[in-house]
Amino acid sequence: MKYVIAIIQPDRLDEVLRRLEEKEIHLVTVTSVVGRGRQKGIAEVYRSHKEAGSLLRKTKLEIAVNDTFVQPTIDAITEGGRTGAIGDGKIFVVDMDRCVRIRTGDEGPEAIG
């Protein structure tokens, strides 16, 4: 089982979720984050005081999937999240040992979905 973490542009969220749906990946956890990346942020100004390294709003997705679903997940995110402009973000995949469904207590691959 793998734990997929993706950082995307906030305004691509709907599209990415749609694509995931298409590929039968229904379960997702979403967090609002800020990020510093290649993308040059705009320096904010408040009463003539320039804010240094302004962090940009991004959206983070977390998706636990069975191994067979890793590639579809990555595809869905890349297709849905790509604008071609710097700032599109990244996808990170880490290995996952266990998965438990709280409601039922059952564990393992079947608990993921």
Binding site: D14, S32, V34, I42, A43, E44, V45, L55, T83
Partner: protein, 432 residues
């Protein structure tokens, strides 16, 4: 410095300034001034987080630009001594010269002329601000500034003159006799129709309609609606220009129409969407305030209830069906609420205006028997003039500004948000 004393030397002997009326006009002016920040929150709460400041900034900017325009020449164009048979006011009062402490017929008889001027200024300020609702989340700030100045001068000032100015060809001061107590035609129809022009010229926001996220801060929107409701008492009851029973009648009609319209919208949501929504209720209430504006001083409480019912129904229909049918993107329904609400109100005034509510009404509305048809027709004609004028002029001015500096921000700026790209600020910190 050669300039005009505003609110200057005590009124000439013989002319009595009434302190009660003056207090009422001043507080009313303050209330109407508060409506523009109120509108800013009403609109600002409904847009996305990344655009909240752009809406607030545009509203505050409208206050600044139009206030200065009004002092320099706007007031003179709208209310100055008539030129060209009711088409426009002259330049006699440019820089407010001659706008002093003495009352000025036919506008005010018991308060300083300058009080009338500042009170009217607040109306001129909020009208272009209403249009922001249609352009929100995609309009360039520079374009907004230019447009606001042009529109106030070329659309609002003439229209105000036609309806309220001495000698204006539409109004009661020697015109067709169209009834517009507090600005249904001048303020709401004009702003609403220009809003329609805006959505046509500017087109949709990216992602409309499927991927636009919901109001980012509804409590802020409710605050805005609350301040608008509060300020509207100054808008409508203040338009009596005296603290008398007419002001009281307008005050009552205003409140009742808002309450009825708010409840109506909530009930429609309840029926059609299973639940009554908060946004629906405040939207309905604002619609009610809009619709009762032209008739506030001419109708009874029962008349106000009638106006409120339509004010809840028609904008609701527009937003629910018309909008999707036509597929236009009126971000905050400036056309649906102010345009249609204003038109309904102006026509409804022709139905329920009655001398019982205000002896100044010399032709009762249709529901009050004979003569009504005539008044209704007058209302209809005035509405047509206002609709055509503000829609066509709106189209032209938007095109002009588009050619000058471009109306819309580019795709990337729209994606990142107007706050950051137009003002180098963000509304709320995420990490702090």
């Amino acid at each position: 410095m050669a300039d005009a004393p505003a609110g200057a030397a005590p009124a000439p002997a013989g002319v009595a300034i009434n302190s009660g009326d003056t207090a009422w006009i001043l507080i009313s002016a303050a209330l109407v001034m508060l409506m523009t920040p109120g509108l800013a929150f009403f609109y600002g709460g409904l847009v996305r987080r990344k655009n909240v400041l752009s809406v607030l900034m545009q509203c505050m900017t409208a206050i600044c630009i139009v206030s200065i325009q009004w002092v320099l020449f706007g007031y003179s164009l709208a209310f100055g001594p008539d030129k060209w048979g009711g088409l426009i006011g002259g330049l006699d009062w440019v820089g407010l010269s001659g706008v002093g402490a003495a009352p000025m017929a036919p506008y005010v008889d018991t308060v300083p002329h300058s009080a009338f001027m500042i009170y009217q200024m607040m109306f001129a300020v909020i009208t272009p601000a209403l249009i922001i609702g249609a352009c929100a989340e995609r309009m360039k700030f520079s374009a907004f500034c230019i447009f606001t100045l042009l529109w106030s001068t070329l659309v609002y000032d003439p229209l105000a003159h036609w309806v309220w100015g001495a000698g204006g060809f539409l109004g009661l001061n020697g015109g067709w006799g169209a009834l517009d107590f507090a600005g249904g035609t001048v303020v709401h129809i004009s702003a609403g129709m220009t809003a329609l022009a805006a959505v046509i010229v500017m087109g949709k926001r990216q992602g409309h309609p499927t991927s636009i996220s919901p109001p980012h801060n509804l409590p802020l929107g409710v605050l805005g609606a609350g301040l608008l409701w509060f300020g509207w008492f100054g808008f409508n009851a203040g338009s009596a220009l005296h603290a008398d029973s007419l002001a009281v009648g307008a005050f009552i009609a205003t409140h009742v129409a808002a309450a009825v319209a708010g409840l109506t919208w909530a009930l429609l949501d309840w029926m059609f969407h299973k639940k009554p929504t908060t946004l629906g209720m405040i939207t309905g209430a604002v619609g009610g305030l809009v619709a009762v504006t032209p008739g506030a001083g001419f109708v009874t409480p029962m008349g106000a209830i009638f106006i409120g019912l339509g004010a809840g129904l028609f904008p609701w229909l527009a937003v629910t069906f018309l909008k999707n049918r036509l597929g236009y993107d009126d971000t905050l329904d400036a056309f649906g609420v102010h345009g249609l609400g204003g038109i309904w109100g102006a026509l409804a005034t022709g139905l329920v205006a009655c001398a019982a509510a205000n002896p100044a009404v010399n032709r009762n509305g249709l529901f009050y028997g004979p003569g009504g048809a005539e008044q209704l027709m007058t209302q209809f004609k005035a509405v047509c003039v206002a609709v055509v004028w503000s829609f066509v002029m709106g189209l032209i001015l938007f095109k002009v500004v588009d050619l000058m500096v471009g109306l819309r921000v580019n795709q990337h700026e729209e994606r990142v948000g107007l706050d950051l790209t137009q003002h180098k600020e963000v509304g709320y910190t995420v990490i702090d």
